[in-house]
Symmetry: C2
Subunit: 604 residues, 2 copies
């Protein structure tokens, strides 16, 4: 039986750390050779990390990434490797679009996969379909590719694609298979969001089945600013059945033997393809890997890993843990500080931080005011005990009073309002930042997506910090994460009363979130429709929500854009997060709530 042994390195690179990434890649290559793989595959942009963003405008960075590729090539003998990198092309490449005079001085860059054999880069594939939506800005940096390198490795014909190419129905996969590819190796740096890995695998299965080809998909893993790559690398046979699947959120080498003989029998012929395909096959470069992996290695069949997919809430939790761990580690921090209030948001944030970093690297700070309840204080003490973290207490009453006196002449006899509430939040923000500055800890903020969406948060107050762990987690899901935490361990990590008490900011006497906001079970679905799904006011009302409530919510969302613009980074876990994913103008005269009957043209 003709088989191909594929080793897929589900790797966690650091953006920009070319030397470190080189080291990681050559280590995996060694491991792949140890298991006698024919082919070892690395994710999209493995050398630079993903996304490298405007680092790509530094000519030296791009040149160094090519130098690192050549170093990798030299280390790669006895196995064929596919490695994601940035290819620097000629601006006059026939397949590049005509550049504007404005960008004419810049070199043409491609998001590419190098094919390495026998110590040399023998071919390169450049992504055809650039990802330019959501959090992705690839058209800012790259030109689309045009050539298709087809490899013959140990008698097996392989086509290489990158990420978005697989999502296009008329993408390179159909061209490769039209001219005889048996295996499609696709490399990706696809960030986690709820539901993404499932739909991705389904798409890959469809592509495998439709084209009658084996698909080996290697994804990146790890946190990078807002994004956390989930891994979930997978191999599917020509019927779309999973034959190997990597773990989620874990760096590992997934090794499997694929039965290539089974493929050839059921393949479509070239004649069945469209006219478009017939034209596109002219772009295929046939690369025969001669000396590389030709020696028939003596090896016994490997039983591949087929990791189980995670439940949604478990996946979210693990995504957040990895994101925190990597943000802290990759930015050179060792310890974090969190303002703990006795509420569920800060409790869940602290629990995630403890799982990511260990309890000894998490410092809680409790900053009571005269409005802080005894319950909150007790719950903080209990949380600290459950999580085994240090909690320091810094009361804010005297500092509040100092501000009150300082501002008294300016405020004259103006009544007390949210200004005084914001001041409390900002004093707390300053105290956390002071501890951060003095000790070098990273401040984790604790605001959830529901609050951040409607602006129920204080800029420079509770929003002050370096990393906003649950920024993309709706409040109702924060409770889900808390219950998950408690269900996992032998004993609860989040005191039960924190889950039971009604949410409150405790910035004035007897304040409850529901004084200012609809209940979260109402708010969250409205926000999902408005923020994540771009649904109109009329649509949302029609879906059964109270008109006045929807009006209030969308107005709050629209009015708080300026706050979100100055918010710290947070982890994307939904289809649309509040960072790079959502780019709304601050100066914005559009009022979504103006429905058809209300749109009056004043000059008519």
């Amino acid at each position: 039986m003709r088989t191909l042994r594929i080793a897929m390195a589900q790797m966690n690179p650091t953006v920009g750390d070319l030397t470190g990434n080189l080291h990681r890649i050559t280590t995996w290559i060694r491991d792949a050779k140890k298991v006698k793989a024919d082919l070892v595959v690395f994710p999209e942009l493995a050398i630079t990390g993903s996304p490298p963003e405007d680092l790509l405008f530094k000519a030296q960075f791009v040149a160094e990434n090519v130098r690192v590729l050549n170093e990798i090539a030299q280390a790669c003998r006895g196995v064929v490797a596919v490695v994601g990198y940035v290819r620097q092309g000629n601006q006059r490449d026939p397949h590049s679009f005509r550049p504007s005079m404005r960008t004419a001085g810049r070199p043409a860059l491609y998001n590419a996969a190098a094919v390495i054999a026998d110590g040399k880069v023998v071919g390169s594939y450049s992504k055809w379909h650039l990802s330019n939506y959501g959090v992705c800005d690839e058209s800012r940096y790259f030109l689309p590719g045009g050539r298709l390198p087809m490899l013959l490795v140990n008698g097996t014909t392989i086509g290489v694609t990158i990420c978005e190419d697989m999502w296009s129905r008329e993408g390179p996969t159909s061209v490769y298979t039209a001219v005889g590819a048996e295996v499609i190796v696709t490399i990706d740096a696809s960030p986690f969001h709820i539901g993404n890995s499932g739909s991705r695998e389904q798409m890959l299965a469809t592509s495998a089945r439709d084209n009658g080809v084996i698909v080996a998909y290697t994804n990146m893993v790890g946190g990078q600013d807002e994004l956390v790559f989930d891994g979930n690398s997978v191999i599917l046979d020509q019927s779309g059945t999973v034959v190997a699947r990597g773990h989620v959120f874990r760096e590992e080498l997934l090794v499997a033997d694929v039965n290539v003989e089974a493929v050839s029998r059921g393949r479509m012929t070239y004649g069945q393809k469209t006219a478009w395909t017939r034209k596109a096959v002219l772009a295929v470069d046939r690369l025969v890997m001669k000396g590389a992996a030709i020696q028939k290695k003596k090896r016994t069949r490997i039983a591949p890993e087929i990791a189980e997919p995670l439940e949604e809430i478990e996946a979210v939790y693990q995504a957040l843990v990895l994101a925190v761990k990597d943000y802290v580690r990759k930015n050179g921090f060792t310890r974090v500080v969190i303002g703990v209030s006795g509420g569920v948001d800060s409790a869940v944030t602290a629990a995630i931080a403890v799982d990511a970093l260990g309890a000894e690297h998490v410092l809680g700070v409790f900053m009571p005011s005269p409005y802080t309840s005894r319950e909150s204080e007790e719950d903080v003490v209990e949380l600290a005990r459950c999580l085994c973290i240090d909690v320091q207490t810094i009361p804010i009453a005297l500092t509040c009073e100092a501000y009150r006196q300082a501002l008294a002449p300016a405020f004259a006899d103006r009544p007390v309002d949210t200004t005084e509430e914001n001041l409390q939040a900002r004093i707390r923000g300053n105290l956390l930042m002071a501890i951060s500055n003095k000790f070098g800890h990273l401040v984790l903020t604790t605001g959830n997506k529901s609050e951040m969406s409607v602006g129920y948060s204080t800029l420079y107050g509770d929003m002050a910090g370096g990393f906003a762990v649950i920024k993309d987690v709706p409040k109702t899901m924060v409770y889900g994460l808390a219950r998950l935490c408690n269900a996992r361990g032998p004993s609860p990590v989040i005191p039960a009363r924190i889950l039971d008490r009604p949410p409150t900011a405790e910035l004035r006497p007897n304040q409850k979130d529901e004084d200012s906001l609809p209940p979260y079970t109402v708010l969250d679905p409205i926000l999902r429709a408005y923020v994540e799904e771009d649904r109109s006011f009329a649509d949302i009302v029609e879906a059964g929500f109270d008109r006045a409530t929807v009006l209030r919510v969308v107005r709050m969302v629209d009015a708080s854009e300026f706050k979100r613009r100055q918010a710290p980074l947070g982890v994307k876990i939904t289809h649309r997060a509040l960072g790079k994913d959502r780019r709304m103008p601050i100066t914005n005269g559009y009022r979504i709530t103006r429905d058809e009957t209300q749109l009056v043209f004043s000059n008519h």
Copy 2:
């Protein structure tokens, strides 16, 4: 003599304010008819404002923009109009790229120019070359167009293009002229940066001359978040000579008669064009404007305006004034509050605010600490007198002391360091925000580009506010602006001593900026090379700067990315500003200062 009377509406729309923009456009149309224009032209995206960003993902917004276009059409009789809007196409338009399955659900949108005659939209041009660099993300929203509408208006043949299309050598202009266009109408929303209007006009002149065609270029004016559109609309004859030029930063209707007869004589023939052009002409749609502007209007020749271009520093100043005015007005504020320290940055910011809003709408707040010098206090008093603004004084010493006591147990016996300096800045930030919250004033921040680049600023401290006026102005240019202010008026508006004293943050005794930073005359050129020109460490050193100084500066720039991410919006005035223009990862292992000899691959 055959002439065409063109009225170019250098318009200041508000993003999203469809009703307001409709009103503005119909008013200009009336004015254009009053001056008996054949053609009235509005800027790119005039209906939506520019850039509309993710508003374009709201289907209702796009639909309303089309409805507004139809309202405009109905108001438009007796003159032909070209109006920028968003066209909603069919995803299966033959010229659209093959969309990914991921974005397949979204309608195809085009950045388009509608041609209106006789109360109807009779044609539409969609931008061919999308702007997707710098601050522009058009590939996120739009598909490139493919058709070319060619109009016959009063016997004159006209081609329509948009913005970036003019920058492409093989753009639609050469196709239009190959098939007989005499006038190219190009609409734009091109933001100001130093040198941009000059190079734009040069490019337009080259295009006019090379193609032997008249170019009528209509640009937007006004502030939108980070951007300020400069106007500078211009008409060039077939020799590239300017025949009319609008004012900079001013909303106006620029009217001129162009001599079309002179064009036809000197034109290139179709045969001279490239094979590419011959193919592209198949995309031309010929639109004859029948009833629209056919009546030969009795009119006397108009002497067109040819406004003088501004000096660089004057242009920067006016850009900042308009940006502040529009940000404040379009966001519904009436008054601003500025922390004035006695330094040049806050003085210049206050002067700009006074010019933008009037002295009665500018409140200064002076917040002295024990480190504040008597000179600073005197200079603030003098500044307030010169600018005729209110200045309130709020000392911060007692609030500092309250923080010191609150933090004493946590800090134990740690020595005093920058933590205490940051606290002072953050107290000031809180005080300004408290005044903002209490009275509804917008806080203008006063940090310059030099500080923001190296992170010589306190997050949530002096960086706290809604709009950062001089964020893109290097410190050396801040002095230039100050001198300009003083040179303009009958009496100085910025006290001379503010310009003479060495810059200081006054956060500890006898502190000077030069204790922490190189002199600004050294720092600014290094920053320009590194931040604006993406030059490498080795390059900058080779240009003659001290190696250790360059090393220190690039390290400071790299290390302060997280601060800039949470900074307020500021006005872009250079080739590369610190907002949307620069998208660096925060988590970033790349060290630019690792030159070739230092790049050691640890595993070899």
